[in-house]
């Protein structure tokens, strides 16, 4: 008997699922947001073990508090599975809109689709989802984030303007396969002109200790290198340790270039240890909630809302260090 009821249950559940899928396929556009005085908004953070993430969370919380919105905040602690569960619990709590900082490109697709099926619009922050599986304007409202290719390009252009006569560059890449690592490499490498060559390029995994060890090994193999370009601040700080251990003076014998622009790195620019650093702006709050308001008004949102990134070099670092995150 129990056999039959279980089968009946499965059939019923399957039917419900089929109906909800066909219903969700019905609207091609991402769910609408009604205009209200106050909203209950979800923010699904991916992790918070670094200053950048902490600054991003704080910016979101501050902006929500300023507007008087209720913010449901979750931290996936670096797990894509937990982040999917977090989004599902936000759907259950009936939030009006979800800000999602997807940990990975593919695993978060179910979360985006579940929100769409529940009629809740999603805005992606700082990382995108796989463009072949989910589309802006259809499955989610838009993606807000920095242009990583442009960040790499700005570093290369600054280098070629300020260091005349060519350079031999060691590149410390981010985590292999991650979009910031791919794009920061692409932007930088493609903007290099004749005489500026990357003599070695290896992954330092966006981590300080790994970045230091890789920098030490590469400096040993290429003692004539005079520039180290790191894809983030942590590896740049590791590279500085490596240079000092090798008896070289960062800023004099070897220029260190970085991306992210956290307080420690901007202070290093002031101290002359880092030559220049492009900011990767973590202050998403204002832009995120402004985009949400525009969407509620029924405006057409562009598929990629670009964050503007600052640039720190010896000319402005001293004045800007207080405002760095």
């Amino acid at each position: 008997m129990s056999h039959f009821t279980r089968r009946a249950f499965m059939a019923a559940a399957g039917a419900v699922a089929a109906i909800s899928i066909s219903a969700s396929a019905g609207f091609a556009q991402s769910p609408k947001l009604v205009q209200k005085d106050t909203y209950k908004v979800g923010f699904a953070q991916t992790e918070s073990n670094n200053p950048w993430r902490i600054a991003q969370t704080k910016s979101m919380q501050d902006e929500a508090a300023k507007l008087g919105y209720q913010l449901v905040y979750t931290d996936a602690a670096g797990s894509a599975a937990k982040q999917v569960a977090d989004v599902n619990s936000m759907i259950a709590q009936g939030v009006d809109l979800i800000f999602l900082a997807p940990r990975e490109e593919k695993p978060l697709i179910p979360a985006v689709m579940a929100a769409k099926a529940a009629g809740i619009p999603v805005i992606l922050l700082d990382r995108n989802v796989d463009p072949s599986l989910a589309k802006p304007g259809e499955d989610y409202v838009t993606f807000i984030g920095s242009d990583f290719v442009d960040e790499g390009k700005r570093v290369a252009e600054w280098l070629q303007e300020n260091k005349q006569g060519g350079a031999k560059i060691i590149e410390l890449e981010g985590t292999t396969g991650s979009s910031p690592a791919n794009d920061r490499k692409k932007g930088f490498d493609e903007a290099l002109k004749e005489g500026y060559t990357v003599v070695a390029s290896q992954s330092g995994d966006f981590a300080r200790d790994k970045g230091r060890q890789v920098a030490e090994a590469l400096l040993q193999a290429h003692p004539d290198a005079d520039v180290i370009y790191a894809h983030n601040d942590e590896m740049a700080m590791g590279a500085i340790s490596a240079l000092e251990a090798a008896g070289k003076t960062p800023g004099k014998d070897v220029w260190v270039l970085s991306i992210d622009g956290g307080k420690e790195a901007v202070q290093a620019v002031v101290d002359g240890k880092i030559a220049a650093v492009v900011e990767c702006n973590p202050r998403f709050g204002p832009k995120a909630f402004e985009t949400m308001a525009r969407y509620a008004k029924g405006e057409q949102i562009e598929p990629w809302v670009k964050n503007t990134d600052k640039f720190y070099d010896p000319k402005n670092a001293k004045d800007e260090v207080a405002s760095a995150y």
Binding site: D205, V214, A217, A221
Partner: protein
């Protein structure tokens, strides 16, 4: 080893038997000196192919990078000699590495004297690491939990504890007197290399020259027999896990000191596997009863050299991992073959 030396040579010598013996002899030779051969050929390869390899800096660079792995692997060698394993070393590194800056930055309690603060920062984390090791030993001896499961507890929880201490935030600092252990030099030799040498010498002495060393091997070889002959097997084990914890604590503090920063999420990640790999490549059987201290050092050197060789020659990091795995398989295969002779 002595039992192996006498066994095969006294058998009667037909032509087939002799051919087998030649093969066996090669296997035994490789089992014993294979790691050394790999090390020598790696050196040779580097001298010929890697640019700027023959330089004083290469030596200091590789020694400073391998120091923490060797320090942890010494504890691991002892633990494995007792027939156990310690998966918690990476997390214990994170705990010690998180605690030290908290103490001298006055984040726990304000300490009136700066010198006292640094002194406490150099000692209290080791005490915490010892406590972690004691906890491992306690679970293993008191409740007879298998070492791989017992140390898995701290492997998982330890990093969480470290992250709770620091609120999961990266702590950066600039404290030359503390950072001496990672950045200082004594007579031109980096301090962490001196620490490594001292730890290796002490471990070697412990295994070869002390009663405790014999007891460790006896417990690892046959615990019941050791107990029946009057050895306090549980006590020996507990002590060894404490030693392993303390050594991991030292390594954690060195890593933090080198980097001017403590990142509880990252310090010591995968260190347990690096240490076990060094032990395996170095020729210590994972089944216990043996401790090849100098072999472990050599194993760590080989793995280090593989990494810098591939890096310096532009091979991506992912490939280095595959080569590392291949080396471990080769080492373990050779040992198991040599063992059966």
């Amino acid at each position: 080893m002595s039992a192996l030396d006498t066994a095969p040579s006294s058998t009667n010598g037909g032509p087939v038997e002799r051919r087998l013996n030649a093969r066996q002899a090669t296997l035994r030779f490789l089992g014993r000196y294979g790691t050394l051969l790999v090390f020598a050929s790696l050196l040779l390869f580097n001298v010929v192919f890697t640019p700027n390899f023959v330089a004083w800096n290469t030596l200091t660079l590789n020694l400073t990078q391998v120091a923490t792995v060797v320090i942890v692997a010494m504890g691991m060698t002892l633990v494995i000699a007792t027939g156990g394993i310690d998966l918690s070393v990476g997390s214990v590194m994170a705990i010690a590495g998180a605690l030290a800056p908290l103490i001298f930055l006055d984040r726990i309690v304000p300490i009136p004297s700066h010198t006292l603060g640094v002194a406490l920062a150099l000692t209290l984390p080791l005490l915490a690491a010892a406590l972690c090791g004691w906890f491992n030993g306690f679970l293993i001896t008191r409740y007879r939990i298998q070492p791989i499961v017992a140390t898995l507890v701290l492997f998982i929880a330890g990093r969480g504890i470290a992250q709770t201490f620091t609120n999961s935030e990266l702590q950066t600092f600039n404290e030359p007197s503390f950072q001496f252990i990672g950045k200082g030099f004594v007579w031109g030799v980096p301090v962490q290399v001196i620490l490594m040498a001292l730890v290796v010498l002490a471990t070697h002495y412990l295994v070869r020259r002390t009663a405790l060393g014999r007891q460790i091997l006896a417990v690892g070889g046959n615990e019941k027999a050791a107990r029946l002959s009057g050895i306090d097997a549980a006590g020996v084990k507990r002590l060894i896990y404490v030693i392993s914890g303390v050594l991991a604590g030292i390594a954690g503090m060195v890593v933090v000191a080198i980097n001017n920063a403590s990142d509880a999420a990252r310090v010591g990640t995968l260190m347990e596997l690096d240490a076990i790999a060094a032990v395996a490549v170095g020729g210590t059987l994972l089944s216990g009863g043996r401790a090849n201290v100098l072999g472990t050092v050599l194993g760590a050197f080989v793995l280090q050299l593989v990494r810098t060789t591939l890096l310096a020659n532009g091979v991506p990091d992912a490939a280095a991992l595959v080569v590392k795995a291949a080396l471990i398989i080769a080492a373990v295969w050779l040992q198991s073959r040599a063992e059966r002779i």
